[in-house]
């Protein structure tokens, strides 16, 4: 009775509670497919179908990746590029130089702090908004979702431009509004003079732009939490937080972990936002790992140094990637 009553107030959306654990139906379909007699066509056809994709990926993604590794053991510079000469082989020199350079470690630590802050706020706010979406009236949910989808689709350089304008020292709205507070004068305040506050604004931009994907994904995961379970926990006297901790979160955990790892990887690659905010010439204090590799290669024209920094980044991220992959396999998406 009580369950039925509360359900009546819940908006009906998207219909069904999806997916029994995929583990149940998967092996059955796999066996069924294998039992069918495989004709000769069935054996070669899939390879024919994947060949074009393999060629494109191997040529444009796989090969360059190997070449990055090779480059990082050489010393490729502008004159090699123009003259077409083979760059000299320097072994591990690039790596020892980079790892012995204190500037690299400053950039590294700055990047880690930046990523941790961004990912933390993205996931926290994304989760809160996802849960909020379940609780607001349907018309408001449509409004919030539309705003988020617009933000999601915005080109990165567009959203950066908007933030740049809002935080402009002369004509920015933020300074204007802050100055309205009693006893505060932010007129003409330059947020980017101090790299910490400048990076905080860039982090705000990154978080704001990343929230839609996280919130929408988590919201669709939340709709799969069986209402009966939450109701049962509530009747048994669980507190709001207890329900979330022991009933809701375990169900959305796979999606939560996946989106977190993706955010980590994406935020490590932040580059364009800094470049545009700093008018294409970022100060040393604004260097983040992705940008650092880019500047070394294309501004200092030391392509090999840039390549070596990329490789170091990829190696550091590989732990996260492997974790992501294991999560996916655990929930049975890669069969």
């Amino acid at each position: 009775m009580s369950a039925a009553d509360t359900h009546a107030t819940e908006p009906l959306e998207r219909g069904l509670v999806k997916s029994p654990p995929p583990a149940q139906d998967r092996p059955a379909s796999g066996r069924g497919a294998r039992r069918r007699p495989a004709t000769r066509q069935n054996r070669t056809l899939p390879y024919l179908l994947i060949t074009p994709a393999l060629v494109v990926m191997a040529g444009v993604l796989g090969w360059p990746l190997i070449d990055t590794v090779v480059l990082s053991f050489q010393d490729m510079r502008r004159n090699n590029l123009w003259g077409g000469t083979t760059p000299p082989w320097v072994g591990l020199d690039q790596y020892t130089t980079i790892l012995g350079d204190s500037e690299f470690w400053h950039v590294f630590i700055r990047t880690v702090v930046f990523v941790v802050v961004c990912v933390f706020f993205t996931m926290l706010l994304g989760l809160l908004i996802a849960m909020l979406l379940q609780r607001v009236s349907p018309w408001l949910r449509v409004m919030i979702t539309s705003a988020m989808v617009a933000v999601w689709a915005m080109p990165l350089l567009v959203s950066t431009s908007v933030f740049k304008f809002m935080f402009d020292s002369d004509y920015g709205l933020v300074n204007e509004l802050l100055s309205k507070l009693p006893g505060v004068d932010y007129a003409g305040h330059n947020w980017f003079l101090n790299p910490t506050s400048g990076l905080a604004i860039i982090a705000a931009l990154v978080v704001w732009a990343a929230i839609p994907f996280i919130a929408i994904s988590l919201h669709s995961a939340l709709t799969q939490v069986p209402k009966e379970l939450e109701e049962a926990a509530r009747i048994d006297g669980a507190s709001g937080f207890g329900i979330f901790r022991f009933v809701t979160f375990p169900v959305i955990k796979p999606v939560f972990v996946m989106t977190t790892t993706l955010s980590i990887i994406w935020d490590f690659g932040v580059l364009g936002q800094v470049l545009l905010m700093r008018n294409n010439h970022p100060e040393p204090d604004y260097q983040l790992l992705g940008l650092y590799s880019f500047t070394q290669a294309f501004t200092s024209n030391s392509f090999s140094t840039g390549a070596a920094i990329s490789i170091i980044t990829v190696v550091m991220l590989s732990g996260v990637s492997v974790y992501y992959l294991r999560q996916l396999m655990k929930i049975g998406e890669v069969e």
């Binding site: 009775m1 997916s19 995929p22 069935n42 990926m57 609780r135 989808v149 567009v158």
Partner: protein, 284 residues
């Protein structure tokens, strides 16, 4: 029992107002930068370059849009963006569809490895491939050519397109195809006549997602293209910042011009994309 039920009901009803207020706040915070962009693009320059910004415009004008479109190379860059994203999407979806069909319908040796590769590739930062691609294109004379960027975009959007299309294919019942084959279709004919029509919405969603990725990309375009009239629209936005500061009014108008097409397309297919990105559509 009845009282308990009533209490839950009541407290839920009462709570919603509080949630709605929070929700409105979220809407305002998320949407404000978008609002600010639109409003700035529509107001006269004197109001933009003022030390007393108002939250709403006193008059509306399309001046900023005219000035933005008068910026050098606007139409050239529109052409670049359209050519590059269109061709890269066609390649990515065409090639991707074949691979997705193989992954979704066949059990072959190496299938699992291919799927893991697709996922891993998406986790490699683009910058790490930028340097060798730049050097290679330089050797092949592909710098500053559309085809260089097209091939790169097609390849970078390919893994995700395959992954997403596979999700849609898996959700089309195999029995439909099998009955077509019993009735005398070959496997490919069954695909063309049965699966393909059913796949159309998924195909549209995947294409638009790929289109959005290509349209919004800036890094490869910035490095691989060199002439002002060959840049894509994303790069065109860098024109508004000069030695003497930024022309914000025209920049906001230009931003709207760049963002509008993809935002409209994306709003239409967002649900499908969201489910393709996470668990829902990618069940085995």
């Amino acid at each position: 029992m009845t009282t308990a039920a009533k209490v839950t009901y009541k407290s839920k009803k009462k709570n919603r107002t509080g949630w709605n207020i929070l929700g409105l706040l979220t809407f305002v915070v998320m949407g404000f930068p978008v609002y600010w962009m639109v409003i700035t693009a529509l107001r006269p320059s004197t109001e933009i370059l003022s030390y007393h910004q108002k939250l709403w415009p006193s008059s509306i004008t399309f001046d900023q849009f005219h000035r933005a479109m008068d910026m050098p190379n606007f139409w050239d860059n529109v052409k670049s963006s359209v050519i590059i994203s269109l061709f890269s999407v066609i390649i990515a979806i065409g090639v991707g569809l074949l691979a997705a069909y193989a992954l979704g319908r066949f059990h072959f040796w190496g299938r699992r490895g291919l799927m893991i590769t697709l996922l891993l590739i998406q986790m490699i930062p683009g910058t790490s491939m930028l340097i060798p691609i730049y050097i290679q294109l330089n050797d092949m004379g592909g710098l500053n050519q559309y085809w260089g960027v097209i091939v790169v975009y097609a390849a970078t959007t390919l893994p995700f397109s395959v992954w997403m299309l596979r999700g849609f294919i898996v959700n089309i019942p195999k029995e439909l195809e099998e009955s077509a084959m019993v009735d005398g279709c070959s496997q490919m004919a069954a695909f063309r006549r049965v699966v393909f029509p059913l796949l159309a919405p998924g195909l549209v969603a995947a294409s638009i997602y790929a289109l959005m990725t290509a349209w919004n990309e800036y890094l490869f375009a910035y490095v691989l293209l060199q002439d002002n009239d060959k840049y894509t629209l994303s790069i065109w936005l860098l024109n508004f910042t000069g030695q003497r500061g930024t022309d914000f009014g025209a920049l906001m108008a230009g931003s709207i011009l760049v963002a509008l097409p993809v935002v409209i397309f994306f709003v239409m297919v967002q649900r499908k994309v969201a489910s393709g990105l996470t668990a829902g559509a990618v069940k085995g």
